[in-house]
């Protein structure tokens, strides 16, 4: 019965849905390959793990598998690459952003659904905006990293306070006020 349901879903899935799933998988693989480009070594085991997680998150987009995938990729990056100025860093960040965006887009869409072009264009525009902001941030980080300036406690505290404020704001606006 379950196998039949999977087969039915396979047949029902639209070409657009397959394309979106493919983008989600290749974006995740792109992040791993960007890490390989940065440290010059391919991570075969990681490639297999990330491929499996990417496929799972593409098919079951409305789960937390994608969260696990991002954690694995980020952990691998931090464990193997210590250079924030490498141009592969924004590539990996944008790949993870694309994976997240496509997974979020397909999470509520049933297999047989097809999104209107207007919605796709709007999501591409938003993703491009955030991607551009990420590249700009990397440029600032790479610039500051090159200067090797001393740490500033006040600035760090201010940044932490800003991160805390962001967390509180997101939390307060995310939860249902009636709950």
């Amino acid at each position: 019965m379950r196998v039949q349901a999977i087969v039915d879903e396979f047949h029902r899935t639209t070409a657009q849905h397959w394309r979106l799933r493919a983008i989600a998988v290749f974006a995740a693989l792109g992040a791993v390959l960007a890490a390989a480009g940065a440290n010059g070594r391919l991570w075969p085991a990681g490639l297999v793990i990330v491929t499996a997680l990417a496929l799972a998150s593409a098919v079951r987009a409305d789960t937390n598998v994608a969260l696990l995938l991002v954690v694995v990729v980020v952990w691998h990056w931090l464990a193997t690459i210590d250079d924030a100025s490498t141009p592969w860093l924004p590539v990996a960040a944008v790949c993870l952003l694309v994976h997240h965006t496509v997974t979020a887009l397909t999470a509520s869409l049933p297999a047989g659904g097809e999104l209107p072009r207007q919605v796709l264009v709007e999501w591409v525009r938003r993703t491009a905006l955030v991607g551009a902001a990420t590249v700009a941030l990397w440029a600032v980080v790479a610039l500051l990293d090159g200067r090797a300036a001393d740490g500033n406690g006040a600035l760090t505290a201010l940044a932490l306070a800003a991160a805390g404020a962001l967390a509180v704001t997101i939390r307060s606006r995310s939860l249902d006020p009636n709950r």
Partner: protein, 431 residues
């Protein structure tokens, strides 16, 4: 019609992912001086912040309706929904579940639309492929905010399509049947008030003055009147055997089961006679609480008969007792029984009616390939039953009840001709 209740906005796993990676990543990057982590987590933080800032406030107002809710077999309808007060929402998705005898376009039953200025509209076209009452819901719909961060879900339930049977093509050669009624479109064999010329005869006491033919009276030098045939109608009593359904139904586009043929044939016969100005009644053999339709005429009555036929469901658990009374079939009615003749009940009922001198015809609606089965035992059982059935049919034919296969136009012609011929003969009925 407003659909409700629409659930309030809830965060999605996507938003949880963006918030966790963004906030934890930023904090860890600052605390542990990891600039790479800052760059990797930054897009997630931006997305989480953007999503939270543009979170919709109140749930949207969704109105949905299924129109028309009554269609003929093969005809289409649509579930249409409109969203209002959906400010800050991004797009909407509606999904209709798979239902037997309901086709949707697209096949998946999923429709999506972008929200523009807080409003959106989707329409899920549907087509009913078999007669009957079909549930088409609940239709699930979801409104999605930017970045897919928040969702508001809802269900539109209680949706039902009433699909009237599409009557087969049917026609019968005009006949002059004896009938009790003195209204209708058929010419009677008896003289009476009507519009069809019969003869000229000398005036008798009691003749109406307006019937005097002055031209003939002047020539004959005696009063003559024009006589006419009475206009009459026929009471067609349809008896539908719904004790069981044999064969596989493929809907309006596929093979017909015995009940499909029965219901569509009943609809066709009713339509033919009602449009001819005759009275038609309907009696269902089988299902409990199945309403019987008393004789009446007109297009409204046709709709009433089709409505009752739509509700027919096979009920083999209940075999109605064979009563020796006429079951409200008046003398002079034309009884047409539609049955697959697998249960002997229908034939016994037809025999009972015929024994009271009422003209009854039985239309056989059993599919030709009903005995074909992969299981050899079932196939053998069917062959044995069909042999018995052939004997039962021969027996009832011998007592004067015609049994004919449903062949659309002209199916009743031999029976009607035979009935006219027999109407002219002296008859003896059991009292």
């Amino acid at each position: 019609m407003t659909v409700g209740p629409v659930r309030p906005w809830r965060p999605s796993p996507s938003h949880f992912r963006a918030a966790v990676i963004g906030v934890v990543g930023l904090a860890a990057a600052l605390l542990f001086r990891l600039p790479s982590l800052l760059v990797l987590a930054a897009p997630f933080a931006i997305v989480a912040g953007w999503s939270a800032a543009t979170r919709p406030i109140g749930p949207p107002v969704v109105s949905g309706r299924l129109a028309p809710s009554t269609v003929r077999e093969g005809e289409g309808t649509a579930w249409t929904a409109t969203w209002s007060d959906a400010d800050r929402a991004d797009h909407v998705i509606a999904s209709s579940p798979d239902r037997l005898w309901i086709e949707t376009r697209p096949t998946s039953g999923v429709e999506t639309a972008a929200v523009v200025d807080g409003e959106a509209s989707v329409s899920v076209p549907m087509r009913s492929t078999r007669w009957g009452h079909h549930d088409v819901g609940p239709i699930a719909f979801v409104t999605i905010s930017s970045w897919g961060a928040f969702r508001s879900k809802g269900l539109d339930g209680g949706l039902r399509i009433s699909t009237l049977p599409l009557p087969d093509r049917f026609d019968a050669t005009p006949t002059r049947l004896r009938a009790d009624g003195l209204v209708g479109l058929h010419r009677s064999t008896n003289p009476g008030d009507g519009s069809e010329f019969a003869s000229l005869r000398p005036f008798r006491a009691g003749d109406r003055l307006r019937r005097i033919n002055w031209r003939r009276s002047l020539r004959a030098d005696a009063l003559h009147v024009t006589t006419t045939y009475a206009d009459q109608d026929i009471h067609v009593a349809l008896i539908v055997d719904a004790l069981d359904d044999f064969g596989v139904s493929g809907g309006i586009d596929g093979a017909a089961s015995s009940l499909d043929t029965t219901v569509r044939a009943a609809g066709a016969i009713a339509e033919h006679f009602l449009l001819g100005g005759d009275r038609v009644s309907l009696r269902i053999l089988g299902p409990r609480r199945s309403p019987n339709v008393p004789p009446a005429t007109g297009s409204g009555h046709l709709r009433r008969i089709l409505d009752v036929l739509t509700s027919v469901e096979p009920d083999p658990s209940r075999l109605p007792p064979i009563r020796n009374r006429l079951d409200a079939v008046p003398h002079g009615a034309l009884v047409v029984m539609l049955s697959p003749l697998v249960s002997p009940t229908a034939l016994e009922r037809a025999s009972s009616i015929a024994s009271h001198g009422i003209g009854v015809a039985v239309i056989d609606t059993l599919p030709d390939d009903v005995h074909l089965d992969d299981d050899p035992v079932t196939s053998l059982a069917w062959r044995i039953r069909l042999l018995e059935r052939r004997r039962e049919v021969r027996t009832i034919q011998e007592i004067g009840v015609p049994v004919t296969r449903w062949q659309c136009p002209g199916s009743l012609d031999p029976f009607l001709r035979d009935l006219v011929r027999r109407a002219a003969l002296p008859r003896m009925a059991r009292r």
